[in-house]
Amino acid sequence: MTEALRQINERRRHVLGGMGDRWRALPRWQRWLTLLAGVAFLYYLPFLGDIPGTNLIIPGLDWFRTDSIDGGANWAGVLFVCALYVLVAVGLNVVIGLAGLLDLGYVGFYAVGAYSVALFGSAESPVVGALQEQFGLSSDWAIAWAICIPIALAFSLVAGVLLGWPTLRLRGDYLAIVTLGFGEIIRIVAKNSGWAGEAQGVPGIPGPEGPPSPDNKVFGLLDIKPWYWLALSVVLVMVLLVRRLEHSRVGRSWLAIREDEDAAAVMGVYPFKFKLWAFAIGAALGGFSGLLFASRSAFIQPETFNVQLSILFVAMVVVGGSGNMAGVAVGAFLLAYLPERFRDFSEYRVLAFGLALVLIMLLRPQGLLPSRRRTRELQDRAKEPANVA
């Protein structure tokens, strides 16, 4: 069994392993063109199979759409969730893949982002209610959506720092356990606090066009395509920004800390500072994703932000290939898309999902598109006990 697996692995490495090299060997303009085409395709995705503006269809592509099956979910809606999860994965990848910190409570930041826009942007939220009363404002007054974005980013950033400050002195599994608790704390606090709407949650969360209403032209309730394009644009900008970090002093420091924290410290890298930054940046990205989620749903409740979601987030990063942004994006997309596309199997869905995860872990333990450095680190770690013995 293991021998067979090893052979399959070898073959795959042959096929997929050279991809990064081949990509880097291409001339710059070819890479740019490919990327541009890829981005254009991403924006086209909601129409998949159709040619916009005509009645023509491209046969075959239709099969990939989730609404091609009976009772399938709205295709643009699925894409929107995919984009949200990709944003989450990109953020979590900073924490897990780049800085090497296992965070099992990432949903906490997602919730902080969602609750920030809910509590400050919704005219029906208890916080805005208190502000209205305090300053004698009208009952439909609330903070504008655009201003909620920096608020949500700031709150999730601060949440990241608050969680990181005391806990980043822990390493490895201990950190994972503490963060796991953090995710739960956020959910339970939201569930039990009057100012956070308790278990009923918060309705009336605004989008870019203000509070949800049938009059909204672009960001309405029925047509989800604009939401997807908005989320996609956010993802693209964030990917660019994180790339900048990755290829800077900060990225190098993360890598150095991941490889040998003590040696990095002796070389003048302050591990605590950079780990805290990783936490804060990851938290801000998670918060942004939560904000988009809340705006689109117009209504949130605490039970949405459960541990399962946290685990799903980590699974996206691990399945995709921790440390490689393209990898985690693919992982996030697949984990959001596949369950929707294969709804046919209804109750077997979770089983199939689990099986797929197990298979991936057996065949490609470093993830689908692994970061090459991460792969070797993991291989080294696997060898270590053998060397000691």
């Binding site: 002093r249 190098r252 150095a256 040696a263 070389m267």
Partner: protein
Amino acid sequence: MLPKQKTSPEDAAKPEVLLEVDGVTLRFGGVVALDDLSFNLYKGEILGLIGPNGAGKTTCFNAMTGVYRPTSGAVRFDGQQVSGRKPHRINQMGIARTFQNIRLFPEMTALENVLVGADSQHRTSVVGALFRLYRVKPKPEELPTVDSANGLVRLWQQVRRSSAQVFGISRHTLEERAGERKAYELLSFVGIDDRANDLARNLPYGYQRRLEIARALATEPKLLCLDEPAAGFNPAEKEELLELIRKIRDRGFTVLLIEHDMRLVMGVTDRIVVLEFGKKIAEGAPAEVRDNPKVIAAYLGEPADAA
């Protein structure tokens, strides 16, 4: 038999104390690892710290570089207390070190390893790297060059050059470039620039040792501490290392060398401090130390070391 070390006149006249070990005692439970140890390290010299195995060399080294906090006494660097500071602060004070058992960042290239060291001198952090809003007026040689024969590319280069002249270049970019230049320069200084883009883990042993030195030098230390840099070297490689250490000193670094290869220590150091059982038993020029009966008894007389 060995070339006399040249010291500049002002150094010889009034040596300036760089590092002061003042009555340091370090106990681990009942074990006294360092016993009231005092010595000075002067600017611009190469000081050897030697002693038989278990004499407390590495412990002393760790106390000097802030890994251990002395039970009593103090280590002062440039007049400032070292003990109790965090490792990265100590590096910022100007102390860099290498490790006895090599501790590079194995999955980073040689160049990147040195860049991590060079980064300690840089000021751009997360916000600067993200938004690159802090612009600096570049020096003429730092402007993008216009050298392409292709008209379109040339036009693009021209645009970039003009925009750099008008808007400046972000500090992040300038620091990245300066770091890279410095890293290449250091790699060639220690003689391993031919493998600059190889992963550290794939470098031969001797290269890894040199890479550690380059990485430490990149932090622009006032004091470079080498912990047994010749461990595992053959005589030819040791000879090259001696040459390198001298070159480092000639660049103006002060070097502290921990070594138990006597020949190496005698060949390169200006002064030697000898430890035995955590106590200083001798201090002085190599020739004096070599003839010191206490040292001979403690160390040199042992046949194992003569080999």
